[in-house]
């Protein structure tokens, strides 16, 4: 008791400090800090893979958000069917965090996978990839001829 009385001022300040830290921790949005760094893996398509690469991954987990059963048939043991709007459910997040290997997002459109990827990355989940049918990343395959009667043609 004497010790407490002796250090009451310090204890008081410490409690204020602790309250401030706890407040900052629990009122945060739920995303990690440093959004630019977390988005970094999306540069140059380093987070995009094709189906041929799946067998090369160890302990991969496929999060299938598509309507197709093709992947589930081919990789039934490592595929988890998830609706895009339930990707943040605790059991799904827990499963992704527990997985030792990469998490591979699959959907019928790259649009959905791309959005989910960014969201999950910002939550701090690492080692997440997007499965794409296209090997080329952000490549425009249409050709444009600079004349008024130009008709674009595929390369």
């Amino acid at each position: 008791m004497d010790a407490l009385k002796k250090y009451r001022f310090v204890s008081g300040v410490f409690l204020i400090l602790l309250t401030a830290v706890l407040y900052r921790s629990f009122t945060h949005s739920g995303f990690r800090y440093d959004a630019p760094r977390l988005a970094g893996q999306s540069f140059q398509g380093s987070n995009i893979i094709t189906e041929e690469q799946i067998p090369g991954f160890q302990d991969a987990l496929i999060i299938d958000m598509s309507n197709s059963e093709v992947l589930k048939d081919r990789y039934s043991e490592i595929t988890l069917k998830v609706r895009p709007d339930s990707i943040l459910d605790k059991k799904n997040i827990r499963r992704m965090l527990k997985n030792k290997g990469p998490v591979i997002l699959v959907s019928s459109e790259n649009t959905i996978s791309a959005r989910i990827w960014m969201l999950l990355s910002q939550k701090g989940l690492k080692n997440i990839f997007i499965l794409s049918e296209e090997k080329d990343f952000e490549v425009l395959k249409n050709k444009f001829r600079t004349d008024t009667l130009s008709i674009p043609e595929l390369i």
Binding site: F14, F31, I87, K141
Partner: protein, 203 residues
């Protein structure tokens, strides 16, 4: 006051300041994950190429098309009226520089779906609700708008209007991208962002 007490006070006050300061210059998403997920899965965040074509033809001043590709790709080919903010620049900069006007709808596009959709989530996560994406990117623009053909069969009034919009947008696109580089450069310079200095404080 004893030296020990002085040091204790200084250390504790320093700790208090550190705990309450904003986390340096690091940016973090402001919206709750569940809310952001709901927002970005909503179909309202995406505009079809036909919708974008109509906005361009009508010279809608409430939109800004943001081309996320490299400067080389942008100067070679782009949608008329768009501004170039390479994806890497968008991510590493303060979005306020590019998207400070909340009355303008910012529509991201790239060659396909990736960069534009990453940017959509990124911008909305940082609180920029006026962020949208053009579905399918330039690939879809070419497939739908530039390759629009009139088959000669009878079509409905709605289909006819759609065809007309596509044709006009394709003409604008062709004329703009057929301009000599010197003229294009002048046109593009008029659409570049100028960096806005932050005065500090909240928006």
């Amino acid at each position: 006051m004893e030296m020990r007490k002085k040091i204790t006070i200084i250390l504790l006050l320093s700790g208090l300041i550190l705990a309450l300061l904003p986390l340096s210059a690091n940016r973090s998403f402001l919206i709750k994950p569940e809310k952001l997920l709901s927002d970005v899965l909503n179909s309202d965040v995406a505009l079809t190429v036909d919708q974008v074509a109509k906005l361009i033809v009508n010279e809608d001043s409430t939109i800004r098309l943001i081309d996320l590709r490299s400067p080389e790709e942008f100067s070679s080919l782009s949608i008329p009226g768009s501004v170039n903010v390479p994806y890497s620049d968008l991510i590493s900069s303060d979005l306020y520089i590019f998207m400070n006007d909340r009355n303008i709808r910012n529509i991201f596009y790239s060659n396909t779906a990736f960069y534009s959709n990453y940017a959509l989530v990124y911008a909305r996560g940082l609180g920029y609700k006026n962020s949208f994406v053009m579905e399918g990117g330039l690939s879809e623009w070419f497939n739908t708008v530039m390759e629009s053909k009139f088959t000669g069969e009878r079509i409905s009034a709605r289909e006819n209007a759609l065809y007309e919009t596509r044709t006009k947008a394709a003409q604008l696109f062709t004329q703009f991208n057929s301009m000599p580089d010197s003229l294009k450069a002048v046109f593009m310079a008029a659409n570049k962002f100028s960096a806005k200095k932050l005065d500090g404080g909240c928006e």
